[in-house]
Amino acid sequence: MQLERIDEFRCLLPRSSLKGMRIDGLVYAGEKLAQQIGNDRTLEQVANVATLPGLLGHSLAMPDAHQGYGFCIGGVAASDPERGIVSAGGVGFDINCGVRLLASAVPAAEIATSIPAILDGLFAAVPCGTGTKGPLRLDGGGIDAVMEGGAEWAVGAGYGEEGDLPRIEESGKIDSADPGMVSDRARERGRSQLGTLGSGNHFLEIQVVSEVYDEATASAFGLAKGSTAFLIHSGSRGLGHQVCTDYLDSMQQGMARHAITVADRQLACVPVRSAEGRAYLGAMGAAANFAFANRQMITHLVRRVFKKTLGADDAPDIVYDVCHNIAKFEQHETGGVRREVLVHRKGATRAFPPGHPALPPAVRGAGQPVLIPGSMGTCSYVLVGTDRAMAETFGSSCHGAGRAMSRTRARKEITPEKLLSEMSRRGIHVRGQTRSGLTEEQPDAYKDVNAVVETVHGAGIARKVAKLLPLAVMKG
């Protein structure tokens, strides 16, 4: 499939690329990233998404896009709620997988000698890896309260403060969540997993703000050069994975009733306003709330370790918390008309501009923080949403570095000893649950996060605010 270059940062995937495409694809990538994106089946997946009924604008791929299942990772697709579809695969298995950034006013340089102790404390306090259990077991209806209340439930249960909530996308609670649409199986998978990090690409990092590009915005976000930060990457755990599994299955059956055919079974979808569509969105909201509560509980554990290790009174504050895998009804302008659309973000971040009414007062003036984690041992970025993102990408931007190498190859290319010695040379402390888990996530397995961020910055769909360097990494 051939991309047509529009400018330095954008390429068109014309609808003539594949029979059945109803809209064009738009890929945000310079020459090198476009080449990397062309190395796997990402473009085929962008084209397949463009064949789905009732999509608006473009089938979008961010610069960190890579091959996923059905939809690519790093994809955005917006649907007309009246004649379009909702797809469980368009959100993905890890519903509301996302990142949360915490920042402390304490300069990292002042606590340099305590970083290993904080990391050890985090590794002991935050369960990670497969088969681990969180601090609670949610028996009976307890889990439904979490799915209804999200981060608000967690704060009410003592895991955080009221002031945390406005610093979370949707204030940490999707109001349309309907736990009644969640299967007992999903509940069983989630019962013991609240407050756990998971494995794979999930992580917890201690970072230092190394550069500030926009002082005023950074200050509004609570970030100053040299300050200590914590980045949490986790999602809805087994509960969300099961919700997606259940609805992929039921949507496949629903497609026949609604006379929808798709190029790949993983693209299974149903009309937004159908009974199946509404049921999925209710269940997805419930799983998303579970993820918000999960990151809230991990935040609580991080604060506890921070205070205990340093004997400090002040715990780190939340900069922001963003969803990477979600479908949401939002107001956007398409074809000159302002309307409600259902935006699927699969490995993409909402990037609302300054003044957007959906933003809480704390960040409304500055714009929404867009959190971009890099790979282990490289760097992460904080960006801010823009008007251009609203105009071009349904208010969306990239979500990370994006994988460039398979797990098998990543494992073969470096030994755990060499990786740990390389991290140590860079002054980064590492704790991992498994040695193979670490090597699968080695930095070279990912694209260059700097190139990804320069692309969204250059294209104007998010703007750089600050850069963060890792001091310590904990992997599941």
Partner: protein
């Protein structure tokens, strides 16, 4: 012959391909492949058996639901499956017996979570040697 499995590469995740003289054997091998991603099979002691029964309209749906059932036993029911005997597959359903041990055993060498079983590039086909199945996992 005993069914065999192999781990397949994917840009972000991984897949399993498995073969067997019969479809049942290929399905059992695929389940062994799935659990080999989660836990070192050598570290699991078979102490209990569970009966598994899943309906499915076509072979691909049966494969995804069967492996989804195994994943649920591990991630939702606190049981670590390691031995798989598929007694019947096809005709709208699958019947199997799964052997393993309760989760939490000190000897278990756990690896990584498998989030889900996908339909991406799924394949179930008869070959000159028997049956071949391929499935990709989200990890």
């Amino acid at each position: 012959m005993n069914g065999v499995y192999r781990i397949l590469e994917h840009p972000a995740d991984l897949g399993i391909e498995a073969e067997g003289e019969t479809l049942a054997e290929a399905f059992a091998s695929a389940a062994r492949g799935l659990m080999s991603v989660v836990v070192d099979p050598e570290s699991v002691t078979v102490r209990e058996e569970r009966k598994v029964s899943v309906p499915g309209a076509d072979p691909e749906q049966l494969l995804v639901r069967w492996l989804g059932e195994i994943l649920f036993l591990y991630d939702g029911a606190g049981f670590v499956p390691a031995e798989f005997s598929v007694e019947q597959v096809g005709g709208g359903g699958l019947e199997a017996t799964v052997g393993g041990e309760p989760a939490g055993g000190a000897e278990l060498r756990l690896k990584i979570d498998v989030k889900a079983v996908t339909y991406h590039d799924i394949s179930v086909r008869e070959t000159s040697r028997g049956w071949y199945v391929r499935v990709y996992l989200d990890v």
